[in-house]
C-alpha cells in the first residue's frame, strides 16, 4: 500500500482528511502513483500535473525520505521505503510570499 500526503487544499478537493492509501500494481514511480491517485480521486486531475503534458505544476514538489524527488524522471522508481509503505510520498505546495 502506497501512502501519499496531499497539501491541504487538495485534501479538501479530494474530500479526504488524512493521507491517502493507494494500491499499485507494478513499479512504484511518480507516474504510477499519480495515475493511481487521479484514478481514485478524479477531481485532482490537472491540479498536480498538466492535463496534456503531464508535467508537474511549477509550484508543487514531490518529497520522500527527506529527499526532493521533484526533478526525477516520472518513470524512475521511488525509494523502497515509499514502495513498501514505510514512508509516504509528500506532495508539497511551494511556500511563497513574505
Amino acid at each position: 500500500m502506497i501512502r501519499v500526503i496531499l497539501p491541504a487544499h487538495l485534501r479538501t478537493l479530494a474530500r479526504v482528511r488524512d493521507e491517502v492509501e493507494l494500491e499499485i500494481q507494478g513499479p512504484v514511480t511518480q507516474r504510477s502513483v499519480l495515475d493511481a491517485l487521479e484514478g481514485s480521486y478524479p477531481m485532482l486531475r490537472g491540479t498536480i500535473r498538466d492535463h496534456v503534458t503531464q508535467q508537474r505544476r511549477p509550484f508543487l514538489r514531490f518529497f520522500a525520505c527527506e529527499e526532493d524527488l521533484s526533478h526525477e524522471l516520472p518513470d524512475t522508481p521511488l525509494p523502497e521505503a515509499v514502495a513498501s509503505g514505510a514512508e509516504p510520498l509528500l506532495i508539497i505546495g511551494a511556500i511563497a510570499g513574505g
Partner: protein, 394 residues
C-alpha cells in the same frame, strides 16, 4: 416575495449574500472554497439555482464548481456531491480540462501570440476569468480564459471545447497581454440575434460572432489608444469591460483603459462618451436594468496609481447614455479610500428600483437599492473582491 442573491468572488473564497426585495438586511454565507481565488461566479438565467464558479490557484490550477441549489452546496461537474468517482472507478468528466484546439479539422493551429517584448510566445492556459451561462439552457455555458480563448460546455461544465475560430480568425498572433495577463474577460450573449456573441480581451480588443462562435471579427473601429504604436489599430486595445442592456441589444458601452466608449451598431463603430468624467480610466461599467440610457462607471486614477481620485470613492452615473455624468457619493467613503474596483465587480438587479452593486479590492461590497442615489456597505471586511454578480429572485 422577491429577493436578490449576490455572488461575490474574492481572492480567498466565494461569498453568497442574500436579501429580500427591500435590500436593507443582508446575510453573508461563506467562504466557499476558502483560500482559493474565485475569479467569477454566475447563475443560469433559466434556472436561478444553477450556479457556476471559477476557482483557481497558482499552485493547483483551475477548478470549475457548480451548485444546483442556489449556492448551498457545490461540486465539480462530473463528480457528483458525495461521490469521489463512478462505480467503475473512472471520472465522469474533466471539468477543469481546458485544452486549446489546434486540430486541422475544427481549429486552426494558432500557437503563439505577441509577448511583452514583441516576440511570439506560446499560448498557455492559466485560468478562467469569466463564466457566462446560456440564455436558454442551464447546461450550456461559456468560459473566457487566460491566455485568451473562448470555451463552451454543453454538459453542465463536465467537459469543455474551445471555440477556436476566435483565436484562429487571423489577428491572434498580434494579441498581447495587459498587466493582468492576456485574459478574455467579457462575454455577452445577445438575446435578440440568435448566435450573436460579443467578447473582449485585454489587450486585444472586442470581437463579435454572428454564428454562435464559429467565426469572429474584430469590432474596434473608433477606439483610440494613444500609447500603442498605431492608436487606431484593428487589434491591440486594452478593453476593460463591456456592458449591454438586454432590452436594447446592439447598444454597447465600454470602459477602456482610456476612455468610456459607446456603440449603437453592435460594435461596428465606437465613439467616446467620457464627457465630464474626472479620470479617463476605470474597470467596471454597467447599464441600468430598466433605463438603457443610464450607465454607471467607477473612475479610477490612471495610469500607475489605480485608486480613486483624491482618495474619494465615487460612482458616476450618466442618464444620457454618456457624455453627461453625475457624481454619486452618498454613503461612499469621502476620504482616505485607496481601493480599486475590478472589471467584473459591478452588477445590477432588475427590481424596481434598480439595485446597483460593486465590490472593491479592499473587501467592501457596496449596494444601492435606489439606482445609485445612496449606497450602503453590505460587507466591509471580505478578502479583495474580484467579481460581483447579482440574481433577481422571484
Amino acid at each position: 416575495m422577491s429577493g436578490v442573491r449576490l455572488l461575490v468572488g474574492t481572492r480567498k473564497g466565494a461569498f453568497v449574500l442574500t436579501s429580500d426585495g427591500k435590500r436593507e438586511k443582508w446575510e453573508i454565507d461563506g467562504p466557499h472554497f476558502a483560500g482559493w481565488e474565485i475569479y467569477h461566479m454566475k447563475g443560469s438565467p433559466v434556472d436561478p439555482n444553477r450556479l457556476y464558479a471559477s476557482q483557481t490557484s497558482g499552485w493547483f490550477g483551475q477548478i470549475i464548481q457548480r451548485s444546483d441549489d442556489g449556492g448551498k452546496t457545490w461540486f465539480q461537474p462530473g463528480t457528483p456531491p458525495g461521490e469521489r468517482t463512478t462505480p467503475e472507478g473512472m471520472p465522469k468528466g474533466e471539468s477543469n480540462k481546458f485544452v486549446y484546439d489546434t486540430s486541422k479539422e475544427t481549429g486552426k493551429p494558432v500557437t503563439t501570440h505577441q509577448w511583452y517584448d514583441g516576440t511570439q510566445h506560446p499560448w498557455e492556459f492559466k485560468r478562467v476569468w469569466h463564466i457566462e451561462p446560456s440564455l436558454s439552457d442551464p447546461d450550456t455555458l461559456y468560459a473566457g480564459v487566460e491566455d485568451a480563448a473562448l470555451f463552451r460546455s454543453s454538459d453542465g461544465g463536465r467537459t469543455w471545447k474551445e471555440l477556436s475560430g476566435l483565436r484562429g480568425h487571423g489577428t491572434g498572433p498580434r494579441w498581447q497581454p495587459g498587466a493582468g495577463g492576456m485574459c478574455l474577460h467579457t462575454i455577452i450573449l445577445d438575446p435578440s440575434v440568435p448566435g450573436r456573441i460579443y467578447i473582449a480581451i485585454s489587450a486585444a480588443g472586442s470581437f463579435r460572432s454572428d454564428d454562435d462562435g464559429k467565426t469572429w471579427k474584430p469590432i474596434n473601429q473608433g477606439l483610440r489608444s494613444q500609447y500603442i504604436p498605431d492608436p487606431t489599430a484593428e487589434v491591440g486595445h486594452c478593453v476593460h469591460h463591456i456592458a449591454m442592456n438586454p432590452r436594447r441589444p446592439g447598444v454597447l458601452f465600454m470602459q477602456k483603459h482610456w476612455d468610456v466608449m459607446r456603440s449603437d451598431n453592435a460594435g461596428d463603430l465606437w465613439h467616446e462618451v467620457s464627457g465630464n468624467l474626472p479620470t479617463d480610466f476605470g474597470f467596471v461599467i454597467d447599464v441600468h436594468a430598466h433605463e438603457p440610457e443610464t450607465i454607471y462607471v467607477v473612475p479610477i486614477k490612471s495610469d500607475s496609481e489605480h485608486f480613486p481620485l483624491d482618495g474619494k470613492l465615487r460612482v458616476y452615473r450618466s442618464r444620457t447614455g454618456g457624455n453627461e455624468w453625475e457624481e454619486l457619493s452618498k454613503g461612499l467613503p469621502e476620504r482616505d479610500c485607496y481601493v480599486s474596483v475590478l472589471r467584473d465587480a459591478m452588477a445590477v438587479d432588475s427590481l424596481d428600483k434598480c439595485g446597483v452593486y460593486f465590490g472593491t479590492t479592499g473587501g467592501q461590497v457596496y449596494a444601492s437599492a435606489d439606482a445609485g442615489d445612496t449606497w450602503t456597505a453590505v460587507a466591509r471586511d471580505l478578502p479583495g473582491v474580484l467579481s460581483v454578480e447579482v440574481q433577481t429572485l422571484s
